[in-house]
């Protein structure tokens, strides 16, 4: 795979303040390896530090996925990095076993996620693995601990250095895949439902993309509360699975108007709506809230039009984002919340508290991450595609296990076909752009006063039976 020969910096786990500083290289003599001159010079320029284990420091290599520029699936490349990363106080070095894929990673690849530093950079917000070294002042983690990790970025590689308080001990019986599938989706779902949502018994919740990572986490977490009704949208082929997970009413958003479907069953509307869609769906969600209802928007999946960044589409989407007037909130007794775990990385206490509760649920058998599929690092493009095209049910996982040689050969064959695939993608993208344009036109028409929409909803509400006929 191209780029394997280029050494790259370890993208250390950093907090926001460290974002602009260059990350530290292992402090050795200038490498005697095949490093290109620029990297060697940079390494030499950094202040000297621990230099005892010279041989290991030099010979230490690990594979890392690197986002080399914004764009399509091929922008994430597998590279080999050299030199063992050093540890600062409070940090641990984790030998990564499995990594989770998230929508933020897909958006980051397209340059739509400002929490990822500029390329070249290693993406990845969550992983699982084994602690291989601990820095000074780390008292609650030791070498050999199995941990899951939550970090702003930099976890899609075999070796990751992170603050110890970004790691959580993996409970007995949880696989590395499950552990890599848990942090982002479950903390996101938990904080939305239990902090903003204040979910209580007998309430009703709408979960969009109920077969996705957050969707499944949210459904399982809803079921930890007595008599909660879960409405879940997904394409029909996924209904059996999401119903097994806990969805009370599965709705095929491709063939039915989910607003109408919800009103048939719950004419007064809903207590909580989790909205990953944005745009006009946020308007619909707002109108579908009961008094004291909470709309929690947590991303803008509708923005992910094609696999490449489309600035015009993004700009239009921003423009069409839901905006709400406080007087409407007051008269409706409604709440609108926004959530993104990626912007919460300073809130260690909140996150740890949420994680502890989630792990208790796991130990009690109340939740269990569902793995859709596991991919080798070499297959990251296909893994991203599966998620971006919404073909997954549950979590898409990367494993750092070496790929068997036979599979590698298969991959090479696939590579040959990739040119064809690219052309196909191009066509799809073009189609999506057209669709997006059509959708925007529709949205323009729809952009009327929310009150009008509410009135329509009320009319619908009064005559649901007529419509059923």
């Amino acid at each position: 795979m191209s780029g394997e020969d280029a050494p790259a910096q370890q993208q250390n786990a950093v907090d926001q303040k460290q974002e602009t500083k260059p990350t530290e290289e292992p402090k050795t003599e200038p490498p005697k390896t095949e490093s290109p001159p620029a990297a060697a010079a940079e390494a030499a320029a950094t202040p000297a530090a621990t230099t005892e284990k010279v041989p290991e420091e030099e010979t230490f290599t690990y594979r890392a996925l690197v986002l080399t520029g914004y764009g399509g699936y091929d922008k994430v490349k597998l590279q080999v990095k050299k030199g063992k990363p050093t540890l600062k106080a409070g940090e641990v070095l984790v030998r990564v076993k499995a990594c989770g894929l998230n929508f933020a990673d897909l958006m980051a690849r397209q340059g739509l996620y400002d929490r990822l530093p500029s390329p070249p950079v290693t993406p990845g917000m969550e992983c699982s693995g084994v602690v291989e070294a601990v820095g000074e002042d780390v008292t609650d983690r030791k070498v050999g601990d199995k941990v899951m990790v939550l970090n702003r970025f930099g976890l899609w590689q075999e070796v990751a250095v992170v603050p110890a308080n970004h790691t959580f001990l993996i409970p007995e019986g949880m696989s590395f895949e499950e552990a890599a599938a848990l942090p982002v989706n479950y903390i996101t779902a938990y904080m939305m439902l239990f902090d903003f949502g204040n979910l209580r018994p007998n309430q009703s919740v709408l979960v969009h993309a109920a077969a996705g990572g957050v969707g499944i986490a949210a459904t399982q977490l809803c079921k930890t509360v007595k008599d909660v009704t879960v409405f879940g949208t997904a394409s029909a082929s996924k209904h059996e699975t999401i119903t097994q997970v806990g969805v009370t009413h599965a709705i095929d958003y491709r063939t039915k108007d989910y607003v109408e479907e919800v009103r048939k069953i719950s004419p007064k509307g809903l207590d909580i709506i989790l909205d990953p869609l944005g745009g006009s769906d946020t308007h619909k969600a707002y109108n579908l809230l009961k008094p004291m209802g909470k709309l929690i928007t947590y991303g803008a999946a509708n923005m992910l039009a094609g696999q490449k960044k489309n600035l015009l589409a993004v700009a239009k989407n921003w423009y069409h984002q839901f905006s709400i007037h406080t007087l409407s909130l007051i008269q409706g007794n409604k709440s609108v919340c926004g959530f993104h775990l990626g912007y919460l990385d300073g809130e260690t206490e909140l996150i740890t508290e949420a994680m502890n509760t989630i792990l208790d649920f796991y130990k009690e058998g109340k939740i269990k991450p569902r793995i859709d599929s596991t991919w080798h690092l070499e297959q990251v493009g296909d893994a991203m595609r599966k998620m971006q095209e919404r073909n997954n049910i549950g979590k898409v996982i990367l494993t750092t296990e070496p790929m068997p040689e036979e599979e590698k050969k298969e991959e090479t064959k696939k590579e040959d076909k990739k040119e064809d695939k690219k052309k196909e993608d191009k066509k799809k993208d073009d189609k999506k752009k057209d669709d997006a344009k059509k959708e925007e036109k529709k949205d323009d028409k729809k952009k009327e006063e929310p009150k009008k929409e509410e009135k329509k909803e009320e009319e619908k509400k009064e005559e649901p039976k007529k419509e059923e006929k």
Copy 2:
């Protein structure tokens, strides 16, 4: 007092659907009293019903405050109504002892509250009293029960007919004044803090107008949760009282910038902000939220510019109301909620649940309504003025106790002075209009992107010590 001789309809407690129907008159022969022809014709036109207790039905009179048109304090007049109101199934007749004043009543008087039917109408959302008669199907209330009442309107009178499920039994030891002070303020504060706010131990809350009815209720309710820090704004003369009630940090909003004061103590911002002000204060509140913070706006006190309705000011205020984009919410991990009890009147279950908890707090000695002052029905204008000019600490109450003759004479003297007072008010109104215009100009300048404001806040945050010097 003018208007005492004009009979008026009982403004029965009604739900929204009944709003446009004429309320029922006692069904008797055409009254032989001094009723003007129009009222008599109306009474005669209604269908006949129970006519046994003819004498009582006819001779039954009671005093009622009636909003005769939108405008200043003098638009609420004391009138005498005739004829005993009839009870429908599920209703009770309450002999009213005390009534609470609320901001919604003040706004209603100015025509700014759409939950009050058009004048002539009796305002009043809460009262306390004794059940004097029960309708069919009422099983949980009996004659003699002491109750507090929450209703959309119609409670500022000696006799009120309301649905039984709008009444709550007054606990042992609670006075009628306290009972009339409790429903609106405590349910409002409770639902904001514990439903939308999801208040938990160690959190921080900003309570504006901490000496007002909702302010005192909110402060007391905050103190039912462990280690909650309450920031309360009020003019300096009220600080001693609000501190006694439970405010941790009292801030004089007239002489200090409350945002700066909060940042000095809590640089990261706040978990919950209760915002009754609207306009630019909502922007400030939004920027003052911590991640996962909740802004709960519950009225628009800034709209109450003068004692009379000022359409231009209202329109401008609407325009300047806070409006928020979901992407800003997402990146900030914030929540914006709107609350108004007046729009929740269909939610009997939610309200009853809240009330039960509040009454438990009362019985445990954790909360206690604070009465600012009690006024006779004849003094309703002065009572409203005291509240509207923010001279109260706690609740302003009306009592239906007859006014002693001596005081009445005093009132008459005051009446003579009212012409002077009116002129004075006119001056004040004009001054306020000027101030409002100035404020609007300021607001126009301030109407920049919230992000800019956030940046400023961040700058402030970084150098709080410099500013302190």
